[in-house]
């Protein structure tokens, strides 16, 4: 039996389950699917004004070309800074890409992997956010933000040990000596 739709042969044999056999026309299906995909893609781009930006977009790009990206799904990558601020089933995560930090509004289930937020002596987790960018979010009082649909941990952050510069220590000790000297001179002058 020949299936007219998918252009594949289905074999029915007694005592066995029906099985599908690709016929020589299967390459036609691939070609048809490709054409269909191209058509759908161009229709999406030209007629629905909805774009998915597959490459991460920088914060500078988002801020300076906000009107172009408004309402689009974008991918944004950066370091989590400050702290994750929970608001009910959602949270605000501020993500800094080296130029600016942008607020990401994400469901708690999406941000469970976040452990470190950037602060003094702490490098925050690097995350990749896929979500809808808002130039002036109606839900959040006109904030420029991203509503996350997916958050991926790209690199785990870490804490580092505090240290001090040996030159600065030497300067501090020297200045302490000067202070003691001034105090001694003052005492002598007083006498």
């Amino acid at each position: 039996m020949k299936c007219p739709l998918i252009n594949k042969r289905i074999l029915f044999e007694r005592g066995a389950k029906p099985r599908v056999e690709n016929n020589k026309c299967s390459s036609r299906l691939t070609s048809f699917a490709r054409r269909l995909f191209v058509l759908v893609f161009f229709y999406t781009v030209y007629f629905t004004n909805y774009t998915v930006f597959a490459q991460p977009v920088s914060s500078t790009e988002l801020i300076t070309r906000a009107k172009q990206y408004d309402g689009q799904e974008v991918i944004y990558q950066g370091e989590v800074v400050g702290e994750v601020m929970r608001r009910g089933p959602y949270a605000w995560v501020n993500v800094h890409d080296g130029a600016n930090a942008i607020g990401v509004w994400a469901g708690l289930s999406l941000i469970q992997d976040i452990t470190y937020a950037g602060a003094y002596q702490v490098r925050g987790d690097i995350i990749e956010v896929a979500g809808v960018f808002h130039r002036a979010c109606l839900e959040h009082g006109g904030d420029l933000d991203i509503h996350a649909a997916n958050v991926t941990l790209k690199e785990r952050g870490k804490k580092s040990l505090d240290s001090f510069d040996s030159g600065e220590v030497a300067t501090a000790v020297l200045l302490l000596g000067v202070l003691v000297l001034i105090w001694i001179l003052n005492q002598l002058r007083g006498k």
Binding site: I63, T64, N94, C137, D145, F164, E168, I182
Partner: protein, 500 residues
């Protein structure tokens, strides 16, 4: 004939300058203690080193220039203007040592911006700055807002007469209480009372917004200091946008307005004279100018269709406007958005608000409400003179704590300072345009610097020309001191060179 200053003048100035430096040195111990408590070893050393340098300089000056003479007016003014320059340099040391500022000039820029309660910043990687350095950035706003020499007056200066001359030199021409020492202490009492209340309110808002308690109260204290002293620094690079909280924004608006009110009015409100709020010329002028400039801004935003609804328009438009009018400089939008999204009309509204400022004897900069009110009263008087018969006697009154007759001397003084501010706004604009920035952006940034506001449309960056940084530092300094002590210092140097 210009008289050449004598060595005695230099000694008196040096002695009082030393006192101010000593006061400043001890304030550095606060962030040093926080650094120790938070185990921030590097920052603790930064502040200890800065404390030592300041203490040595202060001690050397007070001992080398020891005098038991009261300051005269000229000396008092010079002590004030020099104190602010020395405070800028000393306050910049811990900032520079942190490694978050690209050069010492950048650290000086932020230090002056902090002391002058401006809020423009050249800090790098602010989100990784230590607690101690962040406290210092906000503490210098608290110190500068009250007045650097107020610390010295409150704790180190014995003579009332000399103290009053320094107090006036710091752009505080109104005594709240008969004695200047009591006035200084009252200013501290008001500020510290509000500091406690404001920190609690902002801390609670932070906790309800999902922040950890320590962070919430630390941010609360920092943001309070920046809001009440109409400064504009914030602990994170996104400024107030970081919190994504309407409650936080409402509380900061209330604190900014409190900071923009005359300390004398605070005193009368504290004493139960609440009617003064609606009768005082400064408050009336403030309400009118806020309303007028907001109308311009809102019209500009609506015209350009910047925000998707009335709530967003009000929340963004009013916040940036009130922040500009009170001279604070908090932002809930990115600097580039001013440039790219806000229309010229909306920017004009904000620039006008920044140029006008808050009340005299408050922590704000700019022309200030009393002067604006007086100028309008004088204008009204002149119009009446034209309309009424020639023989009619026209008098104009205004109410500022008490009802007074408007006289020409007051009008002349108000116009003189207003013209000086306009010239200062123009100076920064010219330098900005010279370096290739668009006119409106240059005017915006220049007004923000000279009026000690801190809103930025993106010009203030570490990469901007050094001459523009120096211009803005000068504007912040001259704008905060309201010119008189700066003119006196310039006159002093002219007398040194040309005097006989």
């Amino acid at each position: 004939m210009i008289l050449k200053p004598q060595l005695k003048d230099a000694k008196i100035i040096g002695y009082y300058l030393g006192k101010v430096i000593l006061g400043l040195a001890f304030t550095m111990l606060l962030p040093a203690l926080l650094a120790v408590a938070k185990a921030e070893i590097g920052p603790a050393l930064d502040f200890f080193t800065s404390f030592e340098i300041s203490l040595i300089l202060g001690l050397l000056l007070t001992w080398a220039c020891f005098v038991e003479v009261e300051l005269n007016w000229m000396q008092g003014m010079i002590v004030v203007s020099l104190s602010w320059l020395v405070a800028m340099a000393l306050g910049a040391i811990p900032l520079y040592l942190s490694g978050h500022w690209k050069s010492f000039l950048d650290a000086c820029f932020d230090s002056m911006s902090g002391f002058a309660t401006t809020g423009l910043t050249l800090a790098q990687d602010l989100d990784h700055l230590s607690f101690a350095h962040n406290l210092w950035r906000h503490l210098i706003m608290f110190i500068g807002g009250q007045g650097i020499v107020i610390i010295a007056i409150s704790f180190f200066v014995k003579g009332f007469s000399g103290a009053f001359k320094m107090y006036v030199g710091e752009a505080r021409d109104e005594k709240i209480l008969p004695n200047v020492l009591q006035t200084s202490r009252f200013i501290w009492l008001v500020s510290i009372t509000y500091l406690v209340l404001g920190t609690l309110a902002l801390g609670a808002a932070g906790i309800s917004g999902g922040m950890r308690p320590f962070n919430a109260f630390f941010h609360g204290a920092c943001v309070f200091m920046a809001a009440f002293d109409t400064g504009g620094f914030a602990p994170q690079s996104q400024n107030i946008l970081y919190y994504h909280s309407m409650i936080f924004e409402i509380i900061t608006v209330a604190i900014m307005v409190l900071g923009a009110i005359n300390f004398k009015l605070h005193y009368h409100i504290w004493m139960g004279n609440r009617k003064e709020i609606i009768r005082n010329i400064e408050m009336v002028t403030l309400f009118i100018t806020i309303g007028a400039t907001f109308l311009i801004t809102a019209a500009g935003l609506a015209q350009a269709n910047v925000y998707p609804g009335a709530v967003a328009l009000f929340r963004k438009g009013f916040y940036q406007l009130i922040s500009g009018h009170t001279g604070t400089g908090f932002q809930t939008i990115y600097a580039a958005q001013f440039n790219l999204e806000w229309s010229h009309l909306a920017l004009t509204g904000v620039i006008s608000a920044m140029a006008l400022g808050g009340a005299v004897c408050s922590t704000t900069g700019a022309i200030k409400m009393l002067r604006v009110g007086i100028i309008f009263k004088a204008l009204a008087e002149d119009i009446k003179r034209i309309i009424l018969p020639e023989k009619a006697i026209v008098v104009q009154k205004f109410h500022h704590i008490k009802t007074m007759f408007l006289d020409d001397k007051q009008v002349r003084a108000a116009l003189f300072i207003t013209l000086a501010y306009i010239a200062l706004y123009g100076l920064g604009t010219l330098v900005g345009v010279y370096y290739g920035y668009p006119f409106l952006n240059s005017l915006f940034e220049s007004t923000s610097a000279a009026a000690n506001v801190g809103l930025s449309c993106g010009i203030t960056q570490a990469g901007m020309p050094a001459a523009l940084k120096v211009t803005y530092i000068f504007q912040m300094w001259a704008g905060r001191l309201e010119f008189m002590s700066v003119f006196t210092l310039i006159g002093f140097f002219i007398a040194v060179v040309k005097g006989k």
